[in-house]
Assembly symmetry: C2
Amino acid sequence: MRIVVFGGDGFCGWPTSLHLSNLGHEVKIVDNLSRRNIDNELECQSLTPISTISNRIQTWKEISNKHIEFENLDIATEYCRLLDLLTNYKPDAVVHFAEQRAAPYSMKSPKHKIYTVQNNLNATHNILCAIVESGIDIHLVHLGTMGVYGYTTSGMKIPEGYLDVEIPSESTRLKSRILYPASPGSIYHMTKTQDALFFQFYSNNDGLRITDLHQGVVWGTNTKETNLDERLINRFDYDGDYGTVLNRFLMQSAIDFPLTVYGSGGQTRAFIHIQDTVKCIQLALENAPKSGEPVHIFNQVTETFRVRDLAELVAQLTGTPVQRVDNPRIEADENELEVENEKFMKLGLDPITLSEGLLMEIKQVAEKYSHRCDKDKIMPKSKWRN
Amino acid sequence: MRIVVFGGDGFCGWPTSLHLSNLGHEVKIVDNLSRRNIDNELECQSLTPISTISNRIQTWKEISNKHIEFENLDIATEYCRLLDLLTNYKPDAVVHFAEQRAAPYSMKSPKHKIYTVQNNLNATHNILCAIVESGIDIHLVHLGTMGVYGYTTSGMKIPEGYLDVEIPSESTRLKSRILYPASPGSIYHMTKTQDALFFQFYSNNDGLRITDLHQGVVWGTNTKETNLDERLINRFDYDGDYGTVLNRFLMQSAIDFPLTVYGSGGQTRAFIHIQDTVKCIQLALENAPKSGEPVHIFNQVTETFRVRDLAELVAQLTGTPVQRVDNPRIEADENELEVENEKFMKLGLDPITLSEGLLMEIKQVAEKYSHRCDKDKIMPKSKWRN
């Protein structure tokens, strides 16, 4: 297949691009390098020493003899260039990672709220609009988030995108399949629930073929391909804005910094290893919807854990103490979370479990690069409400 | 109350501003005059000869001795000026009409899709973000649309914003009150469904007090206040993009142009007279939610009609023939529509019915200004799919 990866320089986008290239697909990365610019703004760097995009691509060429194209393009603001790209490159599929993806960053200030809304909504809409205008039959695979569901405490298992409900009315009980009612917990998550409405509309009105992947919290750093050479290494964020909970714990344990649990730590979250992320994108691309089919929605998660249990697991493995800090988020202190993930399991996903991968991740990444850590960046600074 | 009316120069905004001013409220209109600029783009004018905003305000001062302030400001792009305005003016409430509001215009071309998405979503989000940043307790009243519901054929009565559903699960049947599942029929309608998610989030996260009004198709032109002087006259659109169905029929009958029914005309729509619109805004302002209450959602409609029945009614009154044309929209050919509107009825709305107001509208507006009609602009030109 010929595939464009929007956001192909990012944490999920880069290993996905390599994985798809390694499978023999023709890959073009489109990225405005915004995540590297945000590193500048936050005065923080990936724990791992990531190379420039040109070095990454050059290294991949040396190692695999496969060429990945790259174009620096802001799809949220450069619609005409985006349309030209689709018209000239004629991809079979595009993978869309090109959104601001940190909940704390999206809540940092009015400027960050507005940036997240503008960037994410315009990026997604421009892709959809350009696919229609190009007239090319392109399958869109979009990285969504488990956060569109909100966090249930009802004990119900969260289905994959659609919910079967019954509507009691005067004479009868109507049955209906609806998009799972959105309950986002941050500006970032909210934009993903609004993306879902873009997809529903363009699928219905224009017959676009769309797959939306509701991903859990990603952990781990490297994949089979990024492990081949240090110049291919993937990003590892540990700061209060971009560091996701488990990677933060791993890095904290590596530098003997207490494991910071927000609030009671009673929040249950869904997780997936980055190696499984790239496999899921592959499976989604290989199993595209037909024109006229509703949007495919998959839950891209493999395990669920309560945050305080994760902290205790890491504490046991490493001897690092746990420290409770005020929760900067507005959310329930405790929640259950059960998630269906049968669709990917049936397609052949063979998950990496935390118990297998955790120690390796600590030794090969967190400890190895711990000298690069800036401890001042660890604590949360973005608050959900002033 | 001190009230800002965003979009206060438009079809609903202008009569609302006068109505609120007449009630003794302090009113400030904020508008970027985009609707007048779109007249230039479409090479079409209001059938009624509307005055400039300065003449309108000057006339109102002469007649009522009441002053309405005006500021030309694009709230979708000028966040800092918007924030300054809230901080300095300190309104008790803002009414938000400042969105591109024609479904056909939003489907005209990629440029128009992108404009509608950018303008509507950024405008709504900027208002919400600025209210939070201002720290002032401001009630937001937003004009939504019945189109967020889609058009049901199930025989169910559409509730006011929220739907009570039951979710069958293994052991029990969970009951839940959810936002009515969105099913928008155009890019314009889609932005309003995305607005609803903005409101839900800012209500939950920041405790903002928000009222969302799902309005039907507005008919009629003038209100008590705009009728006081011809220089206060309201806009009347009849063109293929902005002309809503009933006003289009009235104008067609006035110039003996066949009444153009799209498709079978079997679509049932909800209607409301412009005089009732301004009354509803008043009622919404007087009955604000308390902080912490979920978003208030009202259906702002008074009657429902099937389009072909409306055409026949106008044909009987005026002798103008009916003509079927291809439907440019993608929608069901026939639909039922029953809508709850008890909330406004209980608050004292006393609706103007079609049977009372129709003939007056034909004589006092459509016939009086029929010499201003450009017949080339009547037929629909925007298609939902190429």
